[in-house]
Amino acid sequence: MEGFLNLILEPINEVYLKFKGFFPNLLAMLTIIIIGVIVAWLVKAVLLKFFKAIKFDSWCDRMGFTALLRKADVWAKPADIFVVAVYWFMIIGFLMVGFGALNIQAIDSLVSEFFLYLPRAFSAVVILLIGYMVAGFLSRAVLIAAVNSGLHYAKLLAEAVRLLLTVLILAMALEQLQVAPSIVVAAFSIIFGGIVIALAISFGVAGIDPARRMIESGGEEKKEEKGDVEHV
């Protein structure tokens, strides 16, 4: 009878001992998460005030970031979006740290992978932001130059430049994020290469006659030069 009781009590005792060993970790995780939520909330409040003070929204309006958000049918204020992103990023960060406190191997490796991935995600965001500004600047520069040159397709040209740069920037960002890198590189090569070949062919074919005229007129000019009459 005692043996039978032991059979029942031993597993329970084992579970109790395991839980006793695990409980401090669980408590640590909960504490980290609660502190994390409070810290994230405080950072959110401080960031909101800070962005208001530096007029972050106005800056985004002038730089065109707000217009970009609106294009995606996002109508919240840029500062709110940024602050909410930071808030959730911090929450996820603290969740990961909290899970790390559980000392479970599978979660530990997930957490370390998450933190290793952060620099890449950050780089991708920076590439997107700078790329957007550069694309906007170059597109505008092309538009002004083309309008000043009297090209009637100035807007089309500027939009084409913006599109090409956007494709390039997106490919760079995806490559940085290591999202199917081989596919991204291949797709980018095909798209970009295709565009360049299409442009080369279209310019080449369209340029046959002007090039012929240039060559012919060059020859005629030389002939005329020979036949010039010198006046005394």
Binding site: S58, D61, R62, G64, T66, L68, R70, W75, K77
Partner: protein
């Protein structure tokens, strides 16, 4: 039939003989292929519940030369906005309804405010300005026509006559203002008859026939809410958001364009819309509020043209206006008598007294703060501050209309 006399420095296009609507509309249909027309309608939801708007929709459904209608709906809930979209769907060409109180448009206003560009308070001025922004962003129309949505006697002929001088490339006017007589069994339009005309003529005498007073005096109905203009004008003209809207808009037209390219056209034999109460004792309401805003707008425009205002000037103006207005009452009394119209001379005199008080109040406010209420900035100014604003506005309207 009207006479054919030309008054003032702008062109007056009269209603002579029996002009054929079919002819005008068929010509407009041809011209509008090269100069597409956008019709801007600033409306309140309450106007859809009245008699005027159903008739306007019915008439607009027959119009063939308008490329697009941009209706700015104010004071409407989301449900009411949806209802208006449904009502406007009876029109067989493109209609965009801008939900002035919608979250997307509110965000557009917020964007402007945080960048120091005050779009002003809710009203016809701001609604019209917003609609111009959409027409510019859309880039499809070269001409903008605008009329109110409370016209009880609306007919599509009004719109055709209003658009014709600007849409016809052979005439090539840049701005055309509508005029009409507001007569039923009596003469209406007290602010135009008893305030604007006597005030402008008094100012003309005192300010040595300043060109702006001559310009303003050339309009038969300067407060008419119906006009047509080229889209480029919407880019450069600033707009007042208060009751000084019509006069302020004319001041901007005067500032930016030659009077030779401006005209007024007789758009209707009869015109009836809602009447405002005088509210003689309350300067914040009714015609008194309108009086103060209009006077401030005129004073400010003249000051910006170099006319020097002083206490003495305003005292003289008050007396000169009163005399001119009293003479005007006598003229209208005679006019009413010969036409068999009801004419309450006492009511007219009371209105003049109230308008005199309004001028005094406006003068006082102007002397305290000559800059007055800022105008809504023009779209060129707005786009230079926020380059993507027109795209945002277009996106907001297009999303709301999906």
């Amino acid at each position: 039939m009207a006479d054919f006399y030309q008054t003032g420095i702008i062109t007056t296009l009269h209603r002579l003989g029996k002009p054929s609507l079919e002819r005008i509309e068929s010509e407009l249909k041809e011209f509008s292929k090269r100069r597409p027309v956008a019709l801007v309608l600033p409306a309140l939801y309450s106007e859809f519940e009245g008699k005027a708007m159903p008739r306007i929709i019915e008439e607009l459904a027959k119009v063939k030369f308008v490329h697009k209608i941009v209706l700015v709906l104010a004071r409407a809930s989301e449900k009411e906005f949806m209802k208006v979209k449904e009502l406007m769907s009876a029109i067989p060409y493109e209609v965009k309804v801008i939900h002035n109180d919608g979250r997307r448009i509110k965000e557009i206003y917020d964007t402007l405010t945080r960048n120091g560009l005050e779009p002003g308070e809710d009203g016809k001025g701001r609604s019209a300005w917003l609609a111009y922004g959409y027409v510019i962003a859309d880039g499809e129309c070269d001409v903008i026509a605008l009329h109110d949505c409370d016209i009880l006697t609306y007919s599509r002929e009004m719109l055709a006559r209003l658009c014709y001088p600007v849409v016809n490339p052979n005439l090539d006017y840049v701005f055309c203002k509508g005029f009409y007589s507001r007569v039923t069994d009596r003469m209406h339009g007290r602010v135009t008859r008893l305030l604007i005309s006597p005030l402008v003529r008094s100012l003309k005498d005192l300010a040595a026939s300043h060109p702006f007073t001559v310009f303003l005096d050339s309009f038969r109905y300067p407060l008419a809410g119906e006009f047509c203009m080229i889209t480029d004008m919407a880019r450069v003209n600033r707009i007042p958001w208060d009751w000084g809207l019509e006069v302020g808009a004319l001041a901007e037209v005067y500032r930016n364009y030659s009077p030779r390219r401006i005209c007024q056209v007789d758009i209707a034999e009869t015109y009836e819309h809602k009447h405002q109460s005088l509210s003689a004792d309350d300067p914040e309401k009714g015609l008194m509020r309108m009086t103060v805003d209009i006077c401030k707008s005129i004073f400010r425009t003249l000051a910006s043209e170099g006319v020097i205002f002083s206490d003495g000037f305003f005292k003289t103006l008050q007396v000169a206006y009163l005399r001119m207005a009293e003479d005007t009452i006598m003229k209208y009394e005679a006019d009413a008598a010969i036409n068999g119209l009801t004419f309450d001379r006492h009511e007219e005199a009371k209105a003049v007294e109230a308008f005199t008080r309004g001028i005094t109040m406006a003068a006082q406010t102007f002397m305290e703060n000559p800059m007055g209420t800022p105008l809504i900035p023009n779209w060129n100014r707005v786009t230079s501050a926020i380059p993507g604003i027109l795209d945002m506005l277009k996106k907001a309207v297009d999303e709301d209309n999906k």
